[in-house]
């Protein structure tokens, strides 16, 4: 059993063999992966040591103290949070060996080709077709939308319909799609903030070898559940200092700019400050539960809470700035690699946080999930259950 002391020893060894000051960034990250210190709960040979997940903190703290580079988890969030756990669970040995290392080091960025113009919340209704060719390859045609990072991604997790004659959940298959393949066209989708962080992706006669199928044919929905569950959990369990979230910039503005203060704003600010602190404590409690091996269902709620808070706080911040709130820092159409909440001003935060209650499942859909899975209330009436996908209303 790998314990904290053993991990500390291995971390010290890694630092001794590859001093961060004299080792290249990628080289260091590769060495860290090979030492099993990337994600310690992953299996040996795949960046981990099969240790308890809670012990990752031991490694991270030691490496941070030593000034070692990190793998920029914000930039590669979809790969780390969603693609990796799904590949780990459903991938073949060859797929795991091929994909996990460059995914973790950030050399290969991933994106998620799930949503379509006709299938958002009702993701299983998707219509992108994958048809088997004579040589065993899959030929994919269709359109995806709202795809974050597609413009920087090397790989994508993709779900497509392989059988339209069965009910919608049954006819889906999960693939790993090479974004550089012919027929993959990425077009920027300019968003409310002015920039284009997400994209439309058109798939025209894209050939995907059968070796890049993840899981069985027709089992794609089950595989996608792993991705979606991890997507929702990814947000909880982060350790934040007090005022570490969006409330920080507003509180600082309040302190530094007495001329902006009004009684109404004061009441609203205090209410939100308290709620942000309570949400922070809830996240911390979730983290402590995970660390002690008793995960609760609270994770499902964290995304809901943060979405609402981010929106209310940033809305207040725009008002607080008064005359300045009438201005915007920059509407230039840009293609950022990641979402930068704190590097931009209040107006940007306000607009971008509107997406927090939509991306990764809308708040309405998450409330359904909490009501059904946590509280055990009856599920929504289903009129699509026994109907072949091709016969559904669209």
């Amino acid at each position: 059993m790998t314990d904290a002391a053993e991990l500390q020893r291995r971390t010290a060894q890694l630092l001794a063999d590859h001093p961060p000051a004299t080792t290249g960034r990628t080289e260091f990250l590769e060495a860290r992966f090979d030492a099993g210190l990337a994600w310690v709960h992953y299996p040996e040979g795949l960046g981990g040591l099969g240790a308890p997940r809670s012990l990752q903190a031991v490694v991270d703290a030691a490496l941070e103290a030593a000034g070692a580079p990190d793998n920029d988890p914000r930039r590669i969030g979809i790969g780390l949070g969603m693609a990796a756990p799904t590949i780990l669970k459903y991938g073949t040995d060859e797929q795991k060996r091929r994909f996990l290392r460059p995914l973790w080091t950030g050399e290969e960025v991933w994106c998620q080709l799930f949503s379509e113009p006709g299938a958002g919340s009702d993701l299983a209704a998707l219509g992108t077709r994958a048809v088997r060719a004579d040589d065993g390859d899959w030929v994919v045609n269709g359109q995806k939308v709202w795809t974050s990072s597609a413009h920087v991604a090397r790989w994508a997790i993709l779900i497509a319909r392989t059988d339209p004659d069965v009910p919608k959940h049954a006819g889906i298959t999960y693939f790993l799609c090479d974004m550089t393949d012919p027929g993959v066209e990425v077009r920027p989708l300019r968003q409310i903030t002015g920039e284009a962080e997400f994209n439309e992706v058109f798939l025209t006669e894209v050939r995907i070898p059968d070796a890049r199928r993840l899981g069985e044919v027709g089992e794609g929905w089950r595989v996608a559940q792993t991705t979606l569950n991890n997507e929702r959990v990814a947000i909880g369990g982060m350790r934040l200092p007090r005022e570490g979230g969006m409330i920080g910039p507003v509180a600082r503005t309040w302190r530094e700019r007495p001329e902006l203060r009004t009684h109404d704003l004061h009441q609203r600010l205090l209410k939100l400050w308290v709620e942000a602190e309570v949400a922070r404590l809830t996240g911390e409690r979730l983290r402590q539960q995970l660390a002690s091996g008793q995960p609760g269902p609270e994770g499902a709620g964290m995304k809901l809470a943060f979405a609402r808070l981010n929106q209310e706080i940033s809305g207040l911040e725009v008002e607080l700035r008064g005359e300045e709130g009438l201005l915007y820092d920059d509407w230039t159409m840009r293609r950022p690699e990641l979402v930068d909440f704190t590097g931009r001003d209040a107006g940007y935060r306000y607009l971008r946080s509107k997406g927090n209650s939509i991306e990764g499942g809308t708040s309405e859909v998450l409330l359904n999930i909490v009501a059904e899975r946590v509280l055990g209330l009856p599920s929504e009436p289903r009129t699509d259950k026994d109907v072949a996908w091709k016969d559904l209303a669209r």
Binding site: K271, L281, R285, P378, E380
Partner: protein, 361 residues
């Protein structure tokens, strides 16, 4: 902020919880509580004796040298969660927490032993609505005699000992039999208020300074009240979910209607948040670190959740919830009274503003 508070429950705390819950399940039925509230003796004295005498819970905050359990606010908070869940009519928060903290501040060891063994029930003679740090009325002290009237004193009718602030700035311990305790008609029937009238009662020894003792007592009261509110909100949510799964209208469980599912899911989320806030307050009180802010944050958050949980429970039980025989009204009355007890959310938000330097215009 150096370390993170410990927000989980220990195994011992969980064991304590099940012991208290088992006892309350056996001994407290809503019909009995409702009947008692209409009698002259609203408190469940026999339940109190079991809780405090047999289980020793009155002395959780009292050191072992003084016959207490030498435990902490973390354990007391767990007891309060369960008492809140049952809306139990016992003077636990007022005697075992608030009065106890006042006497601990005064170093009144002789009196604490009585509280620890629960041979004495004590009440701090400061109105239940008072926030920590707020001004509070005092009685006159003349020639060693105390005179005056204090109102809104929670659980005074069950108390043997009254801790009375006097106008010399001291805190005095008065035998309840020497005072006139007149029940007021209280909104919360399970934590009744009373007027305490002293007409030239011998003050006896000055026990300590009233201001720090009251402040500490009310802070602990406010901080641990959040755990009571948590238990109460949890009960309301659980009962409502259970009822709505059973209740059928339009040929289906009404709990399957999405408008209701979303409301309940939202409430669940708030209860989850309240648990973290209440645990943080209990842990901070136990460690003395960050306690002012942690209790103010918990109280600025808790009342709205507990009241909403009780109000939602009533609305979603609909007609049956509106009846005297259904326990939801006990819960609603306690929740609403709790929203004023030991300071309103607004008072606690004002405290937060001071503590984290977010000053008013």
């Amino acid at each position: 902020m150096s370390t993170q508070p410990d927000l989980l429950y220990t195994e011992e705390e969980e064991a304590l919880r099940s012991a208290v819950r088992d006892l309350l399940t056996d001994r407290l039925d809503p019909a009995g509580v409702i009947a008692r509230t209409e009698s002259d003796a609203p408190h469940d004295v026999s339940l109190w004796k079991t809780l405090t005498g047999d289980m020793g819970l009155a002395g959780l905050l009292i050191p072992e040298e003084l016959d207490g359990q030498g435990a902490t606010h973390r354990e007391a908070a767990v007891v309060l969660e369960e008492l809140g869940r049952a809306v139990a009519p016992v003077p636990y928060l007022t005697s075992a927490v608030v009065a106890t903290e006042a006497l601990l501040e005064c170093g009144a060891d002789d009196l604490l032993a009585g509280l620890a063994s629960a041979t004495t029930v004590a009440a701090l003679a400061v109105g239940l609505h008072s926030a920590p740090g707020a001004a509070f009325p005092a009685v006159r002290l003349e020639n060693g005699l105390l005179s005056g009237e204090l109102t809104g004193i929670a659980d005074a009718v069950a108390a043997d000992l009254l801790l009375v602030p006097a106008d010399d700035g001291g805190l005095y311990a008065v035998d309840a039999s020497a005072a006139t305790v007149t029940p007021q008609v209280s909104f919360d029937l399970t934590r009744p208020l009373a007027t305490v009238t002293l007409s030239g009662v011998a003050a006896g020894r000055r026990r300590g300074d009233a201001a720090p003792a009251v402040r500490r007592a009310l802070r602990a009261g406010a901080g641990l009240l959040a755990s009571e509110q948590l238990g109460l909100a949890e009960w309301a949510l659980t009962e409502t979910v259970r009822y709505l799964k059973e209740r059928k209208q339009f040929n289906r469980s009404v709990g399957g209607f999405q408008a209701l599912k979303h409301r309940l899911a939202q409430l669940w989320l708030e209860v989850v948040n309240l648990r973290a806030a209440a645990r943080a307050a209990a842990d901070a009180l136990a460690n003395g670190e960050d306690a002012d802010l942690a209790t103010a944050v918990a109280q600025a958050y808790a009342a709205a959740v507990a009241v909403r949980a009780a109000e939602e429970a009533l609305q979603l039980h609909a007609g049956i919830g509106m009846t005297w025989e259904h326990p939801v009204h006990l819960c609603l009355k306690r929740a609403k009274a709790d929203s004023i007890a030991y300071g309103t959310a607004g008072a606690h938000r004002a405290a937060v503003a001071e503590l984290v330097d977010l000053r008013a215009p």
